[in-house]
Structures are given as C-alpha cells and as structure tokens.
C-alpha cells in the first residue's frame, strides 16, 4: 500500500500555490494530509503534483472584523480545539473540532482541508452549513467567496475549481444570545461520525428563539441543511422535552441518509432523532446562558 509517483512543491505564499495549481493538471493541495494521504496510499487518489501549503503563513490565524470571524484554511483542528481565543469567540468551533478523530489526526488535519475534502460524514463542513458561513477561494489573480449553501456539490465534491485554493473560512461572529451544539454518534472515540447534528440557536433578550439553524453530517450525500425542521420553534421561549423530541423526529424525517457498513438508512435516521434532540437542548440552554453570562 504505497502511493503512486507525484511531483512535489512546498510553496510559501497563496500566489505561489495558485500558480502551481494553474500550471499542472491534476495538481492538488496538500494540507494536513490526513485524508489525502490515506487515499494516495490506497492509490484511490493519484495527483500529478502536490502543492504543500503547510509553509504558507497567510493561511494560518484567526480573527474577527465587522461581525465576521475569519479562520485561515490551515488552522489545525487541534488549534481550534485548544486556542483560548477560539474558545472565547467561537466556542462551537472548539467543541466541534474536539470531536474530530484522535489527537494526532487533529495535530495535522486542517479546517480548510476538511471543508475542501467534503466528506459527507465530516463535522466541520456540517458546522459551516449550520453557521451559514462561506469560504474564500483564490485562483490566479482572483478571489471569490462561496457561501456554504453553494459549496457542497456531492460526496467529496465541492464547487471549488481544481485551480482554486481555499484560503479562509468566514462565519458570522458569535453574539450575545447565540448558542451552538454539535452532537454526534461515533462507534468508538475518535471515529468518523455515523451521524451528527449541529444546532445553532439565537435567543433574544427575553429568551425567545429568533433563529434556529440545523445541519447534519452522515445524513445525506453532503452536509445537509435541516433548518426547516426547526421552524416550529421560532418565537418559542421555552424548550420542553417534548419539543426537543419533536425536533428530533422532524430532523429524522427530513433527512435521507445513505446506508453503509456503519449503519443503514433507518439506523442513521434513528440516530438523527436522538442527536437533534440532544443538540437542540444543549444549544438552547447555552443561548439562554450566554444572555445571562456574556462572554460564556
């Protein structure tokens, strides 16, 4: 199980990367390598050129501006999981990143890589959908923003052009009254989720639910936006146990998951119901708590 031959270039800047991508057919970005290299070892991926962006300074870092949070594509999962500023400004990213793989996967794997890879069971793409975020893509001499809703085209497929580098991920800044939770079912600690549900709630000063977004992983061919299933909670200020379970039912009914060795379609639906109920309970409570305790 050894990878096929390829050429390799370690680039120092976004411009160098996009140039390299433009010049060679079948060139691929090498980020953390935690998805690409296994595929290459299995000879299921065979790029002609690997463009290693691990040395590109512009792709790391995290900050906020004008109500938007921006993450460099090369933010490692482990950075998201442990960085105090991320915990403070984007707690849902920290919570979600901690769910990915094992510590050594998180040491290497990146936010941009996970999103560009578009594994339908991956957490971060689902989180991006739940947050209604977008990615910034650079080609030679141009840059564009792609909203999450237009990014995921199918299993392991995005609307990124092969010559484009995903440079950053942007999501609306976390504000008072926001609460988010990511609930997933894994067979063993650190596995890919059989299914997962992210819920992002916003409650106003009186505790009334103003918005509620839901996205799932493992519940369709791409991360799926299941927000419609939660509309019945808009305007509510209490979330009873029955309502949480009702949400679970609606999410399960709205999803059309695939069946595979990790679970049948029905099994994943069963999980979706449990996970959505759990995530909405936690998100709802955090949104209320955030109100009382700004900063948390």
């Amino acid at each position: 199980m050894k990878p096929p031959r390829f050429d390799y270039v370690a680039v120092r800047s976004v411009a160098e990367a996009t140039e390299a991508l433009a010049q060679t057919e079948d060139a691929r970005i090498l980020a953390g390598g935690q998805s690409l290299v296994p595929l290459m070892n299995l000879r299921l991926a065979r790029p002609r050129l690997l463009v290693d962006v691990n040395g590109v300074r512009d792709l790391v870092g995290f900050g906020g501006r004008n109500g938007t949070l921006r993450f460099g594509a090369m933010c490692r999962h482990r950075f998201l999981e442990t960085d105090p500023l991320v915990h403070q400004k984007a707690p849902i990213f920290a919570e979600t990143a901690a769910l990915i793989g094992h510590v050594h996967i998180r040491n290497r794997g990146t936010l941009g890589g996970s999103i560009a890879h578009a594994d339908p069971v991956a957490e971060l793409p689902a989180l991006l959908v739940a947050l209604d975020g977008r990615v910034i893509a650079s080609g030679t001499g141009r840059e564009r923003a792609i909203p999450a809703a237009e990014l995921f085209a199918g299993p392991f497929t995005t609307s990124l052009d092969p010559t484009e580098l995903l440079t950053a991920v942007e999501v609306p800044a976390h504000t008072d009254g926001d609460g988010g939770a990511f609930s997933e079912f894994v067979r063993r600690h650190g596995d890919f989720a059989t299914a997962g549900v992210a819920v992002i709630v916003h409650r106003d000063a009186s505790g009334t639910c103003e918005s509620l977004r839901i996205a799932g992983c493992g519940l369709g061919p791409t991360p799926v936006d299941l927000s419609a299933a939660g509309e019945f909670l808009l305007g509510e200020s209490e979330l009873g146990d029955g309502a949480a379970r009702e949400l679970g039912k609606r999410v399960a009914a709205a999803s059309d998951p695939p069946g595979d060795v990790h679970g049948s379609k029905d099994y994943r639906r069963d999980l979706a119901a449990v996970l959505a109920a759990d995530a909405v309970r936690r998100a709802w409570q955090k949104a209320g708590a955030a109100r009382r305790d700004p900063g948390g």
Binding site: R43, Y267, L271
Partner: protein, 794 residues
C-alpha cells in the same frame, strides 16, 4: 572444586517479561525488520472480481518498469511447483481439490492472488502491478452459504455439481427416543457473522535461496514454523533438510497465522526463481480482503426438553460459509470443532447434526482464537436460556439441572471428548459469588422498574485444549518437542517448537525450566520458532503451549537435572535420588555443589563425571501425552484434546434502546486452566480475549455486498475495540491441575469462547421487557436497532 559459580546475569532492568526490554525499545525483530542486503520486494496482484475465469494475463507492460526484477503469473509458476491440498483423502464427503500458489484458471474471491511482481521496492512493485492486464470473464458470484445451496446457484467448481465443500453428518445416542420422551420442543435459528482475527502485524514472509548449497531460508510471521517447513517442502520440492523456517517476533497471530498461506509458499518459489532475497508483507487491505475470516455460521436447532428443564436431545443443522476452500489447514476445521463442542459441560448424550460447509466467493474462512468453539457454546447456552424462559426456570437452575455431574471423571461426552475437568457445579457457584449474582439481579430488577434495559447473563464452557490436529490436517499430531542445553557456564538455553506471538513464552518457559533445575529464570534463555534449532514442533494454537510446550520443556529439564544430579551424586558419593536441585545448587543435606560447577564438569572437567557417563548436558525430547486420537472411531467419536479447560462468565449490561448501544458494566470470568504459571501474564491473555469477544459482539463485522465485493477493507470500516471500549473483567482462577506434566490445562482462548454467550444472555435479559429474543452473535448498535425496529413494527 575450583570452578567458581557463574556471576548472575545482569539484572533485566526490572522488566516483568524477558521479551519486554527489546519490544519496549522498538528493537523487536518483526518480519518487516529483517534486513538483507539486496532485498527485493514482492507485490501481489489480486482479483478485483469475486468470481471470474482468467482468460489471459499480460505482464509485458509491468516488465518494462525500471526496477522490476520479474513478473509472474499463476500459470507460469504452476508449471513447475507443487500443489496444495488438504491431505484428507480419508474423508469421502470432502471435495478433494488442489491449488497453486497463484490462481490459474479461475479467481474465486476478491483478493485472490493472481500475479506477482518482484522489484527493488514495494513502491515500484505496486507501480508495476497497475500495468498487468488481466482478461477476466466475470461470472456470477455466490455471496453466502444460503445462496450457494440454491439449485440454480453459480458453481465455484463446475465438476462438483453443487457448492457443498464438506458434508458431515453425526449421530450420537438416540435422538429419536429423546424427542419421543420430550415434554416440549424448541426450534431456533442462531447466526454468527464474519469477523477477522486481525493481528496488528499482518502475514508476511522473506525468502532467501542459495543456489550453491540448494538451501532455502524463510522468515515467516507464522505460528507454525515447523509444519510450514513441511508444506514449503511440498510446494518447492526441496527436502526439509534444506529448508529452514524462522518465525521472528510476531505482532500477534490469534490463529490466523496457524494456516499455511499460499503467499508464504509463493515467497519460497520466487526466492528460488529470482535468486535475490525477497520479502512480501501483507498490507492491511490485503489482510482484510485475503487474510482470513472467521466465525460466520448459521445453526438451525431442534431441542427436546422435559418440563423440569432437562434437555434430552438436540438436532442441529449447521450451514457454514467457508468462502473459497483453497486454504490449508482447511477452513471447515473450526466448523467441525463447533459440532463437537455443542454438548458443552452438560449431560447431553442424544445429539445429532448435519454440517454443510459451503464454498462461496469470499475470503477463505480459517481459525481465529476460539476456533469454532464460541459458536458451539453460544448454541448450547442460548438453548438453556430459551428453554428456561419457556418453562419459567431461571438460568442458574437450568444449568445445574443439565450439568455434567462431578463424578465420574473422565466423563465421555456425546461426541467422544474425554473430560478430565474439575467440578462444573463448584465453578458455577464460584462465578455466582464472585459476580455477586443475586445482587446484580436485584439491581437489574430495580433498574427495570425505572424503565431501564439492564440485563444479567451467564455462560459456561469446557474447552478441548492442546488438540491433536491430525484429523483436520491429515498429518501433524498432538505432541511437542523441546531442546534444553545447560552451557558450560551454567546458563541454560531452551528451544521449543511452539511459537509465541505475544503470550510471553520466553518468560513462561524460563520459569518452568528454572523451577525444575532449581535456578533463576534469568539464567534461562528461551528461543522458539526456528526449525534449525529443533527437529520438529507443532506450533502455538489451540491453547496448547503451556500443556505441550511446557510439558516438553519440563520433561527435558527433568532429564538434564537427573543427569546433573547423577554427576553431583558421584562427587558427593551419595545416591542420585537423594540429591536435590534448588537455589542454584545440587544439595545433599548440608553439602552443596553450585549448579555451574556441575555444568563445568560436564564439559570442561569431564574426568569428574561418573564412569561411563557421556559428556555434555543437552537433550532433545518429544512429548506426547498419548491420550488423543488421530481419527474418529467407527461411531464417529473422537477425543482430540490432551486435556480440558473450563470457564464461566457473568455479564451485566445496559442497552440504550434509542441508539442500540450496549454498555457492559460488569464482567466476571472464572477460569480453570489447571496450574497457573504466571498469574499476571495469564490475566493479560484473558483481558485480550475479552476485548476480542467484546469486539466481535459489538464492533466487528466483515461486510460483503451481494456480488461478493468486500465493503470493509480499512481499519476505519472494520472496527476493532479501542481505548474507551475497555471492559475490565473480574477474574477468578480455579486451579484444578490436570494429570499431565505440570498440571496445565491450557489457556488463552477460554475467555473468547465463553464471553460472547454471556454477553448475548445479558442483552437478551435486558430486552426481556420488550420480548426481543437474542439469537444472533452480532449485537452491534445498528444490528440491535434493526432487531428492535423489526420487533416494534411486527
């Protein structure tokens, strides 16, 4: 005496086992660590189709890749190499087949080896594989045993006329009479899914051939180096005198490496062809596709019982998917064992069965820790619980009513096993006490009242150990060999024909030898797995090492000790039988001669030897307890085991009905493997076996689709338990010594045989409020949800 006692060996840095230091430092020598100058690498082209005729293999493209030494097809190699067979012409209902190191006319499963490349590196060899063009004519595939038995099923071997590889009926006692006497009958169907033993290090072999001497040296990650040498001789035509097989450190085996892989023979053949040392290391995908699979069986049973809970008679119909039959030792072997162990520790003499092993287009089935026994035990233990449920008799009473009584011993079972065990009744009592069974049942009742699905289950087993493999392999008996040499400096070398794959044999055998010789285990160096060091050996499997290897080592040590005692007796002018060996001395009352001085006398100062005694202190012994049979008798009864181990387990579980996840909150194992050599190492064996039992019950399943395409080819899809899935068993050892040398009964497998049945019983009990019976071994969350869903819609 002027010879000083030897200084003690340097302290082993306080490690628990002799093997620990090198393994902890990354200095173990596993197959992949064996280095040779100019080593070439083999990569194997494997069939992508489950069933296909091979019309043509074109290797011309692959030959042009720089760094490629040779590319070989099945047809080419078959022309001048020997063939594999099962060596069982005496079984008339077994299809007699032969096969080669690579597929020739047909590929019969995804992963079957079709061609091989030898190149400078594995990278290059894999590049070349991509350029081999095979013209396959795809054929419809048989994806499981049931499909294989259908009238219109595609045929793996056209000349058979069907896909039944082995048909084996058995009838013991008077089953018809038992059914006639019965108050009731139970009919049930039990299923077992396909799993893999999955040692962390896969199979692999390195071969070197010296044309000037005609010698072939093989390093193979195998549990059976000597018997493999015999097989390599079959295939290569070389005399065994010219072949050396070395099994280096091994990254596990679990029975998967007790078969003779065609790839191992392929390495030998290629080493002779290319005249370079060559190595093949099975990668994980190869391992999951074409290593070995185990356990898949379907049992249909009919049980005759009396209203007091006595099981009077049992009929069973075993249908077993053995995958491609091209595997030696044959893949039916575990299923044959299944049929034999069904009566378990119960007094059931009226038992009849039919076994059909069906060839399918899947990876060959083979041995895995437990070797067919988990399924047989599952059957009987489930039957007792299900009958008990009908009659409203609790599981403990059901077992006591059916148990084999304490007297007489030996007790001969329906299938001919000659049981020499301790008391099952006492063992069960000990289990109930250790598990605090009554309290666990009380806690379960309380949890149930709260609406929680908590369950308690028990199971028992008796395990034939140290078996005679002759009936299943057509050769290789039930014995072991060992060589023991006391060196002139008093240090001891032991070579043994078993092969440790992690069990710690270097430590164990050193201890048993040292105990006999009266010296420190640190002065005993044990080696195993080298055919050059010992005439023959049967290897490690079947919980046989302590019984057979330990017995052989003790026998050898006794012979050497007796000779040394005779030397000491001469020097002390006393009869040899009054001399004792202890603490590094041969003693007669107050007088004592250091062990090392006797050793020196035997080699360096031979004038000190009694008149007529040969110099030297070295023996080679064979040890066969002599109580096993190579063939079934005319009534089909067979005692394969030199002795029997027993175990019982109690499990407490909770089922989450929403996700199907089962949490094992408590597990107790009572275990009787006779004399315990090292409690800590033994517990380690039980921990590992429990983890594998938990794995096969809740995590692991090899999947194929209906076209025979495997769906589990990575460790992300085939899930073995990880940290966090740990179950810490409470372990109680009973020590009922056997009558064999050392009193051992054999360990290593008991916990994986008994635990799946206990877990199933506990889950069954947990689901009792829902009335969902457990008749399947696969209790993974998705399978359990399936069951619950089917039940709620039914």
């Amino acid at each position: 005496m002027s010879v000083a006692a030897p200084p003690r060996a340097p302290a082993q840095t306080g490690t628990r086992r002799h093997e620990d230091t090198r393994l902890l430092c990354g200095r173990g020598e596993y197959l992949g660590d064996v280095q040779r100058p100019d080593l070439k690498h083999i990569a194997i082209l494997r069939s992508p189709l489950a069933h296909a005729r091979i019309r043509d293999v074109d290797v011309s493209g692959a030959m042009t890749v720089p760094g490629v030494i040779g590319v070989f097809t099945g047809a080419e190699l078959a022309a001048d190499t020997g063939e594999f067979s099962h060596h069982l012409p005496m079984i008339p209902t077994l299809r007699q087949i032969t096969w080669s190191v690579l597929a020739t006319d047909k590929a019969r499963f995804v992963g079957e080896p079709v061609a091989a490349v030898v190149a400078d590196s594995r990278y290059i060899a894999e590049d070349a594989l991509e350029l081999i063009e095979v013209d396959y004519e795809e054929l419809p595939a048989v994806s499981d045993a049931k499909a294989g038995l259908e009238a219109e099923a595609p045929l793996l071997y056209e000349d058979w006329g069907d896909n039944v590889f082995l048909y084996m009926p058995g009838a013991h006692g008077d089953v018809e009479a038992a059914f006639a006497d019965a108050d009731g009958e139970l009919r049930e169907r039990f299923t077992h899914h396909r799993v893999s033993g999955l040692p962390m290090e896969g199979h692999g072999a390195l071969g070197e051939f010296d044309p000037s001497t005609g010698r072939l040296e093989m390093h193979v990650s195998t549990q059976v180096p000597h018997t493999l040498r015999t097989v390599i001789s079959d295939i290569t035509g070389l005399s065994e005198a010219k072949i050396r097989v070395v099994a280096p450190d091994m990254g596990g085996g679990f029975g998967n490496k007790a078969h003779f892989m065609r790839e191992e023979a392929l390495v030998a053949v290629l080493a002779m062809r290319v005249r370079h040392p060559v190595v093949w290391q099975q990668d994980r995908t190869e391992n999951l596709l074409a290593g070995l699979h185990s356990r898949e069986q379907v049992h249909e049973v009919e049980v005759a019982y009396r209203n007091d809970g006595r099981v009077l008679g049992l009929r069973a119909n075993f249908v077993v998917d053995v995958g491609s039959p091209e595997l030696y030792i044959l893949g039916c072997a575990p299923a044959i064992v299944t049929t034999g162990v069904v009566p378990n520790c119960y007094d059931l003499q009226d038992y009849a069965f039919e076994l059909r092993c069906v060839a399918t287009n899947k990876c060959p089935m083979g041995g895995y820790r437990g070797y067919g026994q988990p399924q047989g035990i599952f059957l009987m233990e489930r039957v007792l619980d299900l009958v008990g449920e009908r009659l409203d008799i609790d599981p403990v009473t059901m077992r006591r009513r059916n148990m084999i009584p304490d007297e007489p011993r030996p007790y001969v079972t329906a299938t001919g096993a000659v049981l020499d065990t301790g008391s099952f009744d006492e063992q069960l009592s000990e289990l109930l006490e250790a598990a605090d069974y009554d309290a666990a049942c009380g806690a379960r009742d309380e949890a149930r009242a709260e609406g929680r699905l908590v369950g308690v289950g028990i199971a028992q087993m008796v395990e034939p150990t140290a078996p005679n493999i002759h009936a299943l392999a057509g050769r290789f008996g039930g014995y072991e060999m060992a060589m023991l040499t006391v060196q002139p400096d008093g240090r001891v070398n032991v070579a043994v024909g078993t092969k440790s794959q992690g069990q710690g044999h270097e430590t164990i055998y050193a201890k048993v030898a040292a105990d006999v010789l009266g010296i420190s285990p640190d002065d005993v160096a044990v080696s195993d797995g080298d055919t050059a060091a010992l005439p023959y050996g049967i290897g490690t499997w079947g919980s046989r090492s302590a019984v057979m290897g330990g017995g052989a080592v003790i026998k050898a040590a006794r012979q050497v000790r007796d000779k040394m005692a005779a030397i000491a007796a001469g020097l002390l002018e006393a009869p040899a039988d009054q001399i004792e060996a202890s603490d590094g001395f041969f003693r007669l009352g107050e007088a004592a001669i250091p062990f090392g001085q006797i050793a020196a006398a035997a080699y360096l100062h031979t004038f000190l030897l009694p008149p007529g005694m040969d110099p030297g202190l070295s023996v080679v012994v064979g040890y066969d307890p002599g109580n096993t049979s190579p063939f079934p008798d005319e009534r089909g009864k067979l005692n394969v085991a030199a002795t029997y181990s027993t175990a019982a387990a109690a499990a407490v579980v909770e089922v989450d009905p929403a996700t199907g996840v089962v949490t094992v909150s408590d597990l107790t194992i009572v275990h009787d493997c006779g004399t315990v050599i090292d409690r800590v190492l033994l517990d380690g064996q039980i921990h590992g076996a429990v983890a594998q039992a938990v794995g096969q019950t809740f995590f692991e399943e090899i999947h194929y689709d209906e076209n025979g395409q495997p769906q589990t080819s990575t460790l992300l899809d085939y899930m073995i338990p990880a940290f966090g899935d740990v179950v810490r068993p409470r372990i109680v050892h009973r020590e009922t010594p056997s009558e064999l040398i050392g009193g051992f009964r054999g360990a290593g497998e008991g916990a994986i045989i008994v635990t799946p049945a206990a877990l199933a019983a506990a889950v069954h009990d947990a689901l009792a409020p829902l009335g969902v019976p457990i008749t399947q071994a696969n209790l993974s969350p998705s399978r359990l949800r399936e069951l619950l869903r089917a039940h709620s819609t039914a």
